[in-house]
């Protein structure tokens, strides 16, 4: 297990590459989920209050 994390001396390069990919991919997913939530809330408000409807 120690060997695995050591990556034959390349741990400083291999793990940041994987960590960065995880952060970017999860980040895009998170943004997609949040945007949908926010939009649904906005449309709910818009439909509840006919004044804002055009």
């Amino acid at each position: 297990m120690q060997d695995f994390f050591h990556m034959g001396g390349y741990a400083f390069y291999v793990w940041p590459a994987y960590a960065l990919s995880l952060v970017v991919l999860m980040g895009q997913l998170w943004v997609a989920v949040q945007r949908r939530r926010k939009l649904i809330r906005d449309i709910e408000v818009q439909n509840r209050d006919p004044e804002t409807r055009t």
Partner: protein, 245 residues
């Protein structure tokens, strides 16, 4: 067939279909990525020249492939936008841009982290690296142009033209390693004869590539659904969807 086109192009139909596909695509992505990472990090042997550092390949190459694939999707959607003015194509192009930029960024960053121990430098103005950097700027240009134009339909046509002009960069990226023989290594998988990579390394690589494709499909459909709701927010079907959610 025209009826089918009409049905598929209808926002409501697309919204429901995408909603049903997302869990399956996302689930398949998670499974393939788990197996690919396991095989790539634990099972595959180390490289006889590069030792363990080569394991960056399992994210670097799929990211680089996706950076080009997403661009081709974007430019194809752009063509549809220019010829038929299909709203769904506008949405697909628009949602693809930040995803493509992310893959391009990852290809560059992971490549840099791989280049430092292997080439002794984080960056070099090699043809492959430079053309990939231009790809990143093309994505940024797309997003900036889109943000600068208020009307979404006008923005879609302007960005479609930009993406079509930029498509010239895709074959340049692909062939750069042959045209300019500099630091970046040549193709190992997409060569015409048999790939010069051992099966125990090739299988996890292809699994990761498939997982990246599925990731893109999942997040693209999620984004497209949201964008569709946003653009059609005044319609009855959206009111219905929101009421039932």
């Amino acid at each position: 067939m025209w009826i089918w086109f009409h049905k598929f192009g209808s926002p409501r139909y697309f919204y429901d279909l995408a909603g049903r596909l997302i869990p399956w695509l996302g689930g398949a992505c998670a499974v393939l990525m788990a197996v690919g990472l396991y095989l790539g990090l634990f099972v595959a042997p180390s490289d006889y020249q590069q030792g363990e550092s080569y394991r960056i390949i399992y994210i670097h190459v799929p990211s680089a492939w996706m950076s080009m694939f997403v661009y081709v999707v974007m430019a194809s959607a752009g063509t549809v936008v220019l010829i038929w003015r299909v709203k769904l194509a506008e949405i697909i192009a628009s949602v693809s841009a930040p995803l493509g930029a992310s893959f391009t960024f990852l290809a560059l960053a992971t490549g840099s982290l791989w280049g430092k121990p292997m080439w002794g430098t984080w960056w070099v103005w090699d043809a492959r690296l430079t053309s990939e950097l231009i790809l990143l700027f093309l994505y940024f240009g797309f997003m900036a142009l889109e943000a600068a134009i208020e009307d979404k339909r006008t923005a879609a046509r302007a960005t479609a033209i930009l993406s079509l002009v930029g498509v010239i960069n895709i074959p340049i990226i692909h062939y750069s390693v042959y045209w300019w023989n500099t630091l970046h290594q040549g193709a190992t998988v997409t060569k015409m004869d048999t790939p010069s990579i051992h099966l125990s390394m090739l299988i996890p690589l292809l699994l990761m590539a498939a997982a990246f494709q599925l990731y893109y499909a999942t997040v693209l459909l999620m984004g497209a659904r949201t964008e569709l709701l946003s653009r059609e927010r005044r319609t009855r079907w959206v009111a219905e969807v929101i009421r039932n959610s």
